[in-house]
């Protein structure tokens, strides 16, 4: 008996000391920013390879680019960063950049045109996934020594294969892949001719406002202010991003003051914290688009009337106003709002009668059975179930297959789905990024393997629209270009096997003390260096 009493006492004591150790609910220090986010998609920090959301967030704060966006005025478009100014040749093919003088990398090395030359050539030569952002202008491993050239330490010249809208080229250089690396430092870490790819995976060599402090995969990533930053040292000396999976956990941490910013709160938790006087909610329209796609290899789905009917069988408004409340807004064209040429037409809404009529005309008065694949993310599952429910009202039985992201993506890229529900985010802030995937399919054969292109994945053969999209891509006149994209989108809305449904609004919970947080809108990633408390 006494042993029991003793051990109970001991355990009780242990628990009591635990309680004594309560953190006083103290807020985070004033020169430190703590963020909860999902960062499990980071696999590398090399700007020539990094391609996921969380990686882009890190990269934007570490690597300066030739041209960049001002986080406090995103609407202004790109402006000078490491390049102080630039000129375009008369034939529109060559852009000459004048480098900003006196800028240093975090390592102390000076930033020269040679570094820019090395960085851009490197991105082309490494041939990693995002390299297409540069190679679409005709740069290739064979010609980079002629097309990307540092004339002297302060002058960089790049020459494209055709005449493109200058804004298209420069916008592309604001993508992660346009990050300028410290060539001296990277070269010293080269192994087997990998141009430092392995080293840059876990180290950084930039001239931006921050340098990498530490990265613990799936745990946290810490950025430390770069004392050499040409724009002046940022107010937040340290930025810590913690990987927190659950929305409710993020909210608890925010409410208790253990973090300053929570980036993955669901609508219910947003509603929950909006009553809290110490917290604020920011809403920012992002570039991500939510859509469902119908594989044209499926004979039923290839019927234009069926496609149209399905677009009337989605409860856009019901979803927007309930479980997507505040976080997605109805949007039915492939260019996100704020992009050049974006349109705001919303021709579709839930209309079961009309859909039934169309289905009857198509020869399916009693509906049919069809599969739908979706990855196991909460809001997508809810969308899928809502769509399953409204499709059923016209007799269409949907069999859901849920899997992990990679699993579903594998099926989609292999064109083995019926219906796919998923998201698409722009890669660089130019309309071509989405047009070239939603409205272009140069070769519809299986062997072509154009797995990066959504129209190909859905076996949608569109020679005419492909020509129009290519024409819009190379159109140098901005206004005319915008018109061309508008026209393509209106046609796309009518005939495509894509039912584009929503555009993302990112809602961020933050402590009221935090100011000037810019997530990057629809065009770029988050900027920590302007944040103050």
């Amino acid at each position: 008996m006494s042993l029991l009493r003793h051990s109970l006492l001991a355990a009780g004591l242990a628990v009591m000391t635990g309680l004594g150790a309560v953190p006083s609910g103290a807020a985070t220090p004033d020169n430190m920013l703590v963020i909860a986010n999902r960062i499990d998609d980071i696999t590398t920090l090399d700007p020539a390879q990094s391609f996921e959301f969380a990686g882009g967030d890190v990269s934007r704060n570490i690597y300066s680019k030739l041209v960049n966006f001002d986080p406090l005025n995103l609407d202004k478009g790109y402006g000078p960063d490491l390049a102080e100014s630039w000129t375009v040749s008369d034939d529109g093919k060559t852009i000459t950049f004048k480098m900003r003088p006196g800028v240093k990398f975090a390592s102390g090395n000076p930033v020269t045109a040679k570094d820019a030359e090395y960085s851009l050539r490197r991105a082309v030569l490494l041939k990693k996934t995002p390299s297409f952002i540069l190679t679409q202008f005709g740069f290739s491993p064979d010609n980079v020594d002629k097309t990307i050239v540092a004339v002297d330490d302060m002058t960089l010249k790049i020459t494209t294969d055709k005449r493109y809208a200058t804004s298209f080229v420069l916008n592309s250089l604001t993508a992660t892949i346009g990050g300028i690396v410290d060539s001296k430092l990277v070269r010293s870490h080269e192994v087997n001719g990998d141009m430092g790819n392995e080293w840059l995976r876990t180290h950084t060599a930039g001239s931006g406002p921050y340098v990498l402090g530490s990265w613990k995969p799936n745990e946290s990533i810490t950025l430390v202010a770069n004392p050499n930053y040409y724009g002046g040292a940022p107010a937040m000396k340290k930025v810590v991003v913690r990987h927190i999976q659950e929305s409710s956990t993020q909210r608890l941490l925010l409410e208790r003051g253990d973090i300053d910013i929570a980036r993955n709160l669901n609508p219910e938790d947003i509603a929950g914290i909006s009553k809290n006087p110490d917290l604020a909610v920011d809403s920012e329209l992002r570039g991500r688009i939510m859509y469902i796609a119908f594989n044209q290899k499926n004979k039923i789905l290839a019927n234009p009337k069926v496609r149209l009917a399905l677009k009337y069988l989605i409860d856009y408004k019901g979803m927007q106003d309930s479980f997507l409340k505040g976080q997605y807004v109805i949007h039915q064209a492939f260019l996100p709002v704020t992009f050049l040429g974006a349109i705001d037409d919303k021709p579709y809404s839930l209309n079961i009668e009309k859909a039934k009529k169309l289905l009857a005309e198509a020869g399916y008065p009693d509906g049919f059975e069809v599969g739908m694949i979706v990855r196991d993310a909460q809001e997508r599952l809810e969308m899928a179930q809502s769509i399953q429910n409204t499709f059923a009202k016209a007799g269409i039985k949907v069999k859901l297959t849920v899997g992990t992201g990679k699993q579903i993506l594998g099926i989609y890229r292999a064109r083995k789905h019926d219906i796919y529900l998923g998201a698409w985010g722009p890669d660089y802030p130019d309309p071509n990024t989405n047009a070239s995937t939603f409205a272009m399919n140069p070769d519809n054969r299986d062997e072509a393997g154009l797995t990066g292109i959504l129209a190909w994945r859905n076996a949608w053969d569109i020679p005419e629209m492909t020509r129009e999209t290519v024409a819009a891509m190379v159109e140098p006149d901005r206004a005319k270009r915008a018109q061309m994209y508008e026209k393509i989108q209106r046609e796309h809305q009518k005939v495509s096997p894509f039912a584009i449904m929503f555009q993302k609004i990112e809602q961020t919970g933050r402590s009221k003390k935090v100011r000037n947080l810019s997530l990057g809108g629809a065009i770029t990633a988050v900027s920590y260096w302007v944040v103050t408390k």
Binding site: R251, D269, D321, S386, L400, G403
Partner: protein, 312 residues
Amino acid sequence: MSISDPEQPNVSQSWRDWLLTDTPTSRRHARIAALYQGWLSFRGNHMAMFGLFILLALVLIAALAPWIAPHDPFAQDLATRLKPPGTPGYLLGSDGLGRDILSRMIWGARITLYIVALVALVAPIAGLFVGTVAGYAGGWTDRVLMRITDIFLAFPRLVLALAFVAALGAGIENAVLAISLTAWPPYARIARAETLTIRNSDYIHAVRLQGAGPLRIITRHIWPLCISSLVVRVTLDMAGIILAAAGLGFLGLGAQPPTPEWGAMISEGRKFILDFWWVATMPGLAIFTVSLAFNLLGDGLRDVLDPKEGSQ
């Protein structure tokens, strides 16, 4: 279950005597009498009876689901989502898509029972087979089979199940298979241990002398003797199996939406836990209740069937 037959209130005295006899007239008679005595001692265990009662109620609810569920478990209504318990028409509240939680739980009982029944069939039988063969054959067969058993035992269990489901695709049947795959090794161990003690008994020697082959000995004479310890173990493991299935559902690898599987319901509801606690809590309570019932029942059965902790 046949053992519940003799429990009629107006059992005639002779029935009772026949059941409680010390001198059974046939093997069948002896077995039934033993069962009846077990039942009598089991009946005295209130907690176990309570467990049994809950499980019977569960079976009843599952069987009558179409008649007692107030709503269609799949019917969505985005206008009445997240209503609290007690809202007219939604006794236990509604979920994120405006479906009635009570109706979903009632239909979910079927899925839980289905999972339980399948695993209870697959895993112990596989284990019984491997264990008795290994124990009876001995030598290399034993060594190889037991090595395989050890390999599966050494596997992190949820990981093995996850890997299996990931390989075959998510779904209830695959979840059941995956759980069985992780659950059978302990049964094999028990069955082997029992077989080893029985194998050299005089009784088996006698049977062998009568010319029975190994197959007949294993199936007709060794299996029946292993059953009681397995039944106890299975009942006690049942809770773990329900929780494992719910865990897979929670990770999105069990039943697929919109199936009202309890674990998946918790998973869907966990994002609302701070403001709309009932969405995750109601199915959580259901899982808890049924697991508890199995544990109570198993505990009671052990008292009756397992001599180690016998009631005298």
